[in-house]
Symmetry: C2
Subunit: 287 residues, 2 copies
Amino acid sequence: MNVTNTIEAVRAMRWQNPTATWGLVPTMGYLHEGHISLVRRARAENDFVAATIYVNPAQFAPTEDLSSYPRDLARDLALLQDAGADLVFTPDNALMYPAGFQTFVTVEGVTAVLEGAARPTHFRGVTTIVAKLFNIVQPTRAYFGQKDFQQTVVTRRMIADLNFNLEFIVCPTVREADGLALSSRNTYLTPPQRAAATVLSRALAQGIVLLNAGERDGDALRQAMTAVIAAEPLARLDYLSAADPLTLAELAQVGEMALLSTAVFVGKTRLIDNMPWPSLTAVTGGQ
Amino acid sequence: MNVTNTIEAVRAMRWQNPTATWGLVPTMGYLHEGHISLVRRARAENDFVAATIYVNPAQFAPTEDLSSYPRDLARDLALLQDAGADLVFTPDNALMYPAGFQTFVTVEGVTAVLEGAARPTHFRGVTTIVAKLFNIVQPTRAYFGQKDFQQTVVTRRMIADLNFNLEFIVCPTVREADGLALSSRNTYLTPPQRAAATVLSRALAQGIVLLNAGERDGDALRQAMTAVIAAEPLARLDYLSAADPLTLAELAQVGEMALLSTAVFVGKTRLIDNMPWPSLTAVTGGQ
């Protein structure tokens, strides 16, 4: 496994064999089984696998946890090696945002709601760095986790609109045994907060139960899920949504599919989770 | 020469031999010798040459000349064939901006002045379509004309900031014998307007004469060039600039290099021109 912090080294390895296929797994490091599941799928589907580790300042607001975001490069590299990565790109800020940097990729529409409403500059930071990483690695396929569902919608939109020449693959959220979605930010939680954090998946699962039982009223679904979160003293709701999985517009009535999603503060830690209905493959068109 | 309006056909030809080099010449059609000089240089430097012909609505304001912009596809294709192009991509609006399109590439800073100040949404349209064409063709080298100098500054900035994997080459402005820079929009001019249109190159040349004679005061240069344009009854000045060629900021004092540029209305036709000093290669770093 090659580890490099230069674009030249990435391109030299990428283009050594121009006909080889490459899978890309972009990460902010502090890897967990969710990330590793992406690397494994990329490993199975491509000749070579590149991962990137970069905590992208452009997707954090000044009030957010950029400085405290967890980092452990040695552990990350060991996990990536075990999972079969061939190349790990670990750029620094001076390489990604040199003096004079002034170009941004912006997706409108689907970035206006949910995470985009809560974090106004977040997605501009995401799409800009993802465009840069796509251009640096030029992968055949890119692998993203369902956990950041809106990010997958925004990225898919960017890929289509800007004609990036790659296949976009969304992999299912990996969860702890009690339902908590894996997240690097789970490490911020105290033991009581960790116990309370299952409230996100419990609320969403309640929504899925109601959908499966025939409930189609958007407000009824949102109210039922909100009630689950309100019953958890350590949790404070940021948003709760039952939306169209393509446009992310809130649904008055659920039709053939829906995305249930929520953001919740547990202490100072902001956690997100989502559940697509009837299934991930149904709402992402089989990818 | 292959002519196609589908992305699939472009990619099939582009990647038939993955190690071949490709030059890209993006155009809005109605080709003149300026465009053809780009194709010839691309022909000399690459295994294959792709040209694109697309009048991009996103770079026109509602008040501008999108509907009347001259078009002659048959003539353009004959010229491209003569110049040695291998592939011509002629997409339509439904392919470039399908329903739901909502992604834009924006360069800040250098787009705020000159053409960007006069045409506020122009460069967002340019950078978005250029990013799309780069991703569709994935050229080894891209060729742009110096005539749209600010466009070359903005595009170079986008390429660097978003890490597009290509070489960017700016070719000198081609002029008529009397100094008028070639432009598809010159066809709008009546004979008296055509005669008056030499005022742009005459004004800029006066600035170069003064620079060569030792004048370094920005205001003195701008005033001398403005006086040339004011003396032409059929011309109405839009802007006149003596700027840093990298940042496009107006210069109080000229140092090692400058970009002299102007936009002038001749009748209803808006013409632009520029002259770099001491030379194009000096101000573009040798490209």
